[in-house]
Structure formats: structure tokens, C-alpha cells
């Protein structure tokens, strides 16, 4: 599983990254987590609002921070 957190590194992006790490730990799964902070790379992905969360290439959340429970549900979808 490939999880990408897109954001320029502000506090909200860090909150999302922490939630993703917690969700992975709670779900006991193995996943590759990538943080994308480069603005050009973020725009190239079509993200207009940060932070954004991609799972296996699909945008799951944009412009908001899903909590741990919601991310866990996304991981099992």
C-alpha cells in the first residue's frame, strides 16, 4: 500500500501525517508513507487544497484532516 501526504509542511500537514502514522500502527499493516512538500509536485497531482491524502494513487481527502478512525476505514476499503 502506498500512502502519500501532500502539503507544504505547515502544522495541518504535520497533523495529517501524524494521524496517518497512528492509523497504520493501529491497523497493523505495512505501508509506504511518502510526504510530498514540493508545491509544484502538489499542483501536478491536481491538488488545489492542502493537506491532501492519497492512498494507492486515489485522492481520499483534500483540504482537511481526516481523523485516525476515518483513515483506518480508508485503509480497509
Amino acid at each position: 500500500m502506498r500512502i502519500e501526504v501532500l502539503g507544504t509542511g505547515c502544522s495541518k500537514c504535520k497533523r495529517l501525517f501524524a494521524n496517518v502514522e497512528q492509523a497504520i500502527k493501529d491497523s497493523n499493516i505495512t505501508a509506504e508513507v511518502i510526504k510530498i512538500e514540493d508545491l509544484d509536485a502538489i499542483i501536478e497531482r491536481g491538488v488545489m487544497l492542502t493537506p491532501a491524502l492519497f492512498i494507492n494513487g486515489t485522492v481520499m481527502a483534500e483540504g482537511r484532516i481526516p481523523d485516525v478512525k476515518e483513515i483506518k476505514a480508508m485503509l480497509t476499503e
Binding site: S11, R15, L49, G63
Partner: protein, 158 residues
Amino acid sequence: MTETQKCSCGQNEPKRIIFPCAGQANVGQIINLAAVQLTEEGYGTISCTALLAIGAENLIANALKSDEIVILDGCPMLCAKKIAEAQGLLPGQHLILTEIGLTKGPSKSYTDKDIETVVTACWKGEGRLDTSLISHKKNDEKDTRHGCSCSSNCSSIR
């Protein structure tokens, strides 16, 4: 308190209203500061629980219009939750500090770490009582809004 970096991120965050118990003990002080930090970080908007207790109609109307009501209580007395429920407000999230590792009194002192513990718990959704907000987001929003003020689904312009 941690200084918060201002930015335009998080524009799709649900509109949350936060009611801290604001009690006299250390946990009440921690909660107030955590609610201020959560407001500065864009998680929600701190509101006055004392004003809610006297039944302020505008405040109750605003709370009912929000996407989610977040209640922060310092201890198992649950004062803020009881005040909210007495006014017909049901929380989507309810956090009790003594249940997330903080100790009430006897000292009035606290640290920045205590405040951060509460803020982090809120962002992680540790006090979530149901999944209504999640399903609301999934069914109605699907994260396709582009942050404008029209409140409509702008995915067609993508």
C-alpha cells in the same frame, strides 16, 4: 503555548464549535488553552460554555448550524457535556482529559506538553462518539470542493 503557523490549508475542514469546560482545576485551564490553540490551528471555533449555560439563543442556533459539536471536559464531572445536553446539543466528539492520561489537581500547574496532548487527541479524533461526520463527508462532499465560498460542488471545473 506553541505558536501556530497561519496558512490557508484545511479549507475543507468541517465547521466545528468547541465548548471547553473551563473549570478552575489544572485540567480546566489546560482545556481552555487547548481550545484556543485548536481555534488558531483551524480545527474549530472556541465558544463560551458559560453563555451556553444561560441558554443564549444565538449561540445555540450557531451550534446547531455547525457540522460538529466538540465538548472538552476536564474530569468525570462532565460539566460541559451536561450543560450542552441541557440545551439540546449533542456532541459529535467528547474528550475527557482524565481519560487521556492527564491528572486533575491538586496543583494548578501545567505544561505546554499537556496542552499539546489535548490538541493532538482532538485532531486524532480520540473523542469521536459516532461516524456521522465521516459519512456526511463521504456521501455529500467527497472532498471535491475547491475552497471557494459558494458551498457548491465545483468538481465540474476540475
